[in-house]
Subunit: 218 residues, 4 copies
Amino acid sequence: MTGKEKTELRKTQILQAAAKVFAEKGFQEGTIPDVAKESGVSEASIYEYFSNKENLLFSIPMEAMQRLSEKIDFHLKLIRGSAEKLRAILYLQLLFYIENRDYAAVIMLILKQNRRFLDTEAHQAIRKHLKTVDKVIRDGMECGEFRNDMDPYLIRSTCLGSMEHVVTNWLMLGHPTDEELLKWVDPMLNALVRGVGAGNELNQCPLKHLIVPEDVEA
Amino acid sequence: MTGKEKTELRKTQILQAAAKVFAEKGFQEGTIPDVAKESGVSEASIYEYFSNKENLLFSIPMEAMQRLSEKIDFHLKLIRGSAEKLRAILYLQLLFYIENRDYAAVIMLILKQNRRFLDTEAHQAIRKHLKTVDKVIRDGMECGEFRNDMDPYLIRSTCLGSMEHVVTNWLMLGHPTDEELLKWVDPMLNALVRGVGAGNELNQCPLKHLIVPEDVEA
Amino acid sequence: MTGKEKTELRKTQILQAAAKVFAEKGFQEGTIPDVAKESGVSEASIYEYFSNKENLLFSIPMEAMQRLSEKIDFHLKLIRGSAEKLRAILYLQLLFYIENRDYAAVIMLILKQNRRFLDTEAHQAIRKHLKTVDKVIRDGMECGEFRNDMDPYLIRSTCLGSMEHVVTNWLMLGHPTDEELLKWVDPMLNALVRGVGAGNELNQCPLKHLIVPEDVEA
Amino acid sequence: MTGKEKTELRKTQILQAAAKVFAEKGFQEGTIPDVAKESGVSEASIYEYFSNKENLLFSIPMEAMQRLSEKIDFHLKLIRGSAEKLRAILYLQLLFYIENRDYAAVIMLILKQNRRFLDTEAHQAIRKHLKTVDKVIRDGMECGEFRNDMDPYLIRSTCLGSMEHVVTNWLMLGHPTDEELLKWVDPMLNALVRGVGAGNELNQCPLKHLIVPEDVEA
DNA sequence: AATGAATGAGGCTTCATTCAT
DNA sequence: TATGAATGAAGCCTCATTCAT
């Protein structure tokens, strides 16, 4: 028991260090020696836990995405209305980025442009997340909360893209500040939902009280 | 003269090759030997034109951005209405990406996450472009075409972010196709402008015929 | 006792695994982790039995050579005639190689070219074996069965070299097959003994019934 | 011209150094830094000429085998009689080993036990050499100079094996001396040819004056 | 102006080996 | 006795970059 826990701890230690190093320097410029120094572990030990440098990189988002995913699933069950759900998802995601700056940087600035990452187990977790978003959007379109004359993929892209753009700038330029960033979620989401919404004011989904939470999980 | 022209040609040759190589392999995995092979120029010669590898990378978007910028400026002069202008900018930008896939990849997938690129002359061109967008947005807010209860930076982010997200996916996943991508511009812009718009239907800027083209350049 | 036996068993286990690994991959390319996996023993445990990797390698032939040596000694006592004895030695040796392919590979392909192996206890066993061969040859020369105008070392070299060459090819190329290899012993030995023989046909050693078995051991 | 020559010189320089290093330390224990030091060339430069360490190793015998092969071909044309030819081949080969101790060590102690070497261009040169030997042996069997009740492969193995064994001992033990080694060629060959010979004394090939040199080349 | 040739620098990775349990 | 875990040491190899021609 204690052995396995220790191992798990060590792994997390290394992953955190790696996230920090790669977030600061980028993947290629961040070296294994850097990660070793940062984590207080020998270089060789890193290879006990991760088969190679790229595998280390790809392992960074796994845990974190897991946690985020669970949190989102949990909250979605408590919320009625697709617009509200969409807002919740984006809000939680943004919050997560703010609270885990290094992970955010690794995901947004490094992994997003790595083609090999697409074939990764970690990327599957991301795809699952995207599916959740899709479900919410499609539900919203069906029940009339969202415009149904738009490709749902486009709706998703607009929402996520806006957020990612802001996050990327926040990471790269340090602007806006964390507080501003959080304050912006609402107006941004409002604008998005408005652009994406059906035009009649919110809460108009006649069936929304019937949507059982399990739907979201599908 | 002929000497200078030849030099300029060679430079372009190298830049194109570099764009292709970096677009395919990424910056670190694309090597100077690769660029040399692709361009048919010796490695050593590359250093005659570019002081080092990063400088080569940073030089890639210059020309192209220049051309795009000029084209946008030209078109903006012919268009009235902030919404229309915004649409034009985004459309031209998207068109540019589609027609210059390698440049798009270098800009969107590589340069965007390079902090040192921020201090670059090439990045200034980008900032100038952003200012143009800002100007259009602010004008639109002033004359009531756009909501004025939103941070203009947020409006810009929403517009650019949506587009960049779609472009990134197009580059990384090959999805959507070029044609789809182009077809999507309009609905996407509509949604954006609607979300960002003042609510009363378009074309309502009473002063838009007064906006003199030169304003935009400022 | 049981403890000691267990220890001995474990050692043999490891040695066999090591022989297999080194035979397949060579000494440097075969790793301690490989041996650990193959033997079902932990890496650390290997070091309980063998002080280091080279010592493990050098220990491989000991047991086996011991067994071979005993078998040869036993048979030699039953045979009269130097030519017959020589034939027996070579035959038994060849048989041993065929029946212990991994050991053969380790000895012929790895240890033979290791200078440090020369200083080993295991190598002493080999030298003792060579002395047995020498004794037989010298006896054969004395009693007129073998040519006495040739350096005995040369005779030995010719016999052993021929055999080793064939064995090496068998190990490296898988050619000839085990059966062919065994069938070849006789003609090869005939040729050798003929080349090495005194010319008058065999069995002509007038004193051979006087050779007492103990001589051979010396 | 001068450029190519210089390149070729450099390559030879490196190969000689590599032969020396590997002969002394073995392949794995001899390092690229060692070769660099020995050859007075930088490590990186070695990789300009040889794609990797193993390729460097495999390239060592090429030149040398080439030279030996040519010399043998040349001499064979001048010699009548299969036995004499066989003797010549073995003698020249032995001489070559003595005059190129490092190459001999690399070939006999390192390459001979490397399975990947078998797929090498350099190994083809060796196979060609073996074919020459085979041809001589088969010719000798046909015209009655050699026993025809033995597998020719076995005859070849006996001859080469004897020689290689002696050479290996010479390399490993420094015994016999170069002079002794040379002096032994004749008696050894006599014994071999005698063992392998048809029994009637030499020179009995009735057609041997008809054998045209070209035969050998086939 | 153009390049073939050479190399310094440094990263990733692998193991043999140790040690605490 | 047995081993999981940790690491020091070191080698291969790759490139960006320089320089003589």
